[in-house]
Amino acid sequence: MRHGKYPFIIGFLVVPVALYVTFVVAAYLQTFQLSLTSWSGLGKIEYIGFDNFVKLWHDDTFWKSIKHNLFLLILLPIITIAIALVFAFLLNVGGGHKGGQSRGVWGSKVYRIIFFFPQLLALAIVAVIFGRVFGPDKSGMLNGLFPQSWSPWLFLADERYAMACILVVLIWQAVGFYVVLFSAGMGSISDDIYEAAALDGATRFTLFFRITIPLLWSTIQVAWVYLGIAAFDAFALVNIMTVDRGGPNGATSVLSLMIYRNAFDFSQAGYACALGVVLFFLTLTFAALTLRVTRRDSVEA
């Protein structure tokens, strides 16, 4: 049966490989190439060596953006995964253990749907909604809920808290997906393990830290990488929600926003591509590091 396998393989893979060579590989090579030019986006292309990268090094907005991306990179995965793990645990085993089957808390099926809901809304819609939630006057949703005597919070218009608002929205949007993802992982952990541990007198805490987390480790790893990637992006929310797109005063600028604005608003396509190159290496370094650092002997469920 061996002969005749290659026609299939080639036939099956030629289209996807061609698509990726053109749309991803060639496109990235072009980004690298353009990063060495002073191209505005129109007209003549002139090579200027590494000038764009030198300029980047001295660009305050760039360092601010890096700082904001790191802020998201550290906090988004930690908080989201923590919340998602706790809720997935509650949904799956938190309700106790009856008749040899672990149960979730009451109504866990409903929760699962509710938590997944934000995932269904387009980021564009999420951004529009949270623009209302964080409205800086009394017509804003949160300010409307606060007592009348309080002076309204500025939220996105306040340099100190604008980035935190973005973080909150990112978490709100992401957490449901990870609850479902972790639930799926927990569902595949055998009930016998929980039952045995429960019989040995393990508390909910012990079950969570000694059984659930180690057995879910590879899923958590995947989640960490995905959330990290989301933290490197964050373009949609920042672009739509923030004051002056990235403001006030650069307080919410992130790398992806800088790329977009330089390319399509400031006619600095070459510079935007240099930023793209930086983002490319940062993302890949992050992914490789995460997978390496968090590697540990996996426990088979």
Binding site: L13, L19, G94, G95, F116, A124, S139, T203, F280
Partner: protein
């Protein structure tokens, strides 16, 4: 740690009733937090204009109205952009299913030189920031006159959802025992027949899960379509954003538009919501 309850098959993990109440309370509070903004959208969409802008907003519309929905439907380009979104999404999903299924077959069922490299590329592509590709993408599509065209966007979306499609379908196909293939081959099926008659039908749930996911991705996308196309060739997401900036305070129709825009996705989700965990497991958990 000493007293383990052993009454006849009833083992209470949580031990205390208080623990259970606490767990349930946290659950309810968190669910409210997740739902509140969505609820507010619906609330706003059914309010007449004066109530939307009231300084003391109420938790329900005092005089519920459908006016916001009708004005959204009548708004310029709304129906046009809805149709555009539908065309682009369906083309991309259909394309990704065909291309993705075949690629997943090759990866799951054959061993060949470069297989590992392809798997690695499929995974890596999901990691690289897409935004940095917008400029070359624009240039590339421009040279073949596919900017400001629904076809160009469809192809881009196809590329966008393909990695997930391949990866998930690979998981599903790997789950089908090879013994089935071998039995069919012995019974005189050709390889193509095995793929068509045995693997394809058995991958059914996987195809449903991936197409729904692809649909959500493509339907909700707006950065690419907003950059490549002019308003008459964009989708509803781009329409919403346009209207947010130009109309400023017309929140009622905007929220009504947001609801209409979300309906297809919500319907799809409710259809497959039972299987969503399966789809996720096949794609991500199995690694």
């Amino acid at each position: 740690m000493a007293r383990a309850p052993r009454d006849e098959g009833v083992v209470t993990v949580g031990r205390t009733r208080i623990g259970s109440i606490l767990a349930n309370t946290i659950g309810v509070l968190f669910a409210l937090l997740m739902l509140f903004p969505v609820y507010w959208v619906i609330n706003t969409a059914f309010k007449p204009a004066d109530e939307v802008l009231a300084l003391d907003p109420t938790f329900w519309p005092n005089h519920p109205t459908l006016a916001n929905f009708t004005s959204a439907f009548k708004a310029p380009l709304f129906l046009q952009d809805m149709l555009n979104g539908l065309i682009v999404t369906l083309l991309a999903v259909a394309g990704a299913l065909v291309v993705g299924f075949l690629a997943a077959l090759a990866i799951a069922r054959f061993s060949f030189y470069g297989r590992k490299a392809i798997i690695l590329v499929v995974l890596a592509v999901q990691l690289v920031p897409f935004l940095a590709l917008l400029i070359p993408l624009f240039l590339m599509l421009q040279t073949v006159s596919l900017t400001n065209s629904l076809i160009g966007v469809s192809i881009t979306y196809l590329v966008l959802i393909l990695p997930y499609t391949v990866w998930t379908l690979r998981g599903f196909i790997s789950g089908i025992p090879r013994e089935l293939d071998e039995a069919a081959l012995i019974d005189g099926c050709t390889r193509a027949q095995v793929f068509w008659r045995i693997i394809l039908p058995l991958t059914g749930p996987g195809l449903v899960a991936t197409s729904v996911y692809g649909f959500i991705q493509a339907w909700n996308e707006f950065i690419i379509i907003n950059t490549l196309n002019s308003p008459a060739k964009q989708n509803l997401m781009a329409w919403l954003l346009q209207n947010q900036t130009t109309r400023g305070t017309a929140w009622g129709p905007l929220m009504a538009g947001a609801i209409i825009t979300s309906i297809p996705v919500v319907i799809f989700f409710l259809i497959i919501q039972r299987n969503i965990a399966t789809g996720l497991t096949a794609g991500a958990v199995k690694g």
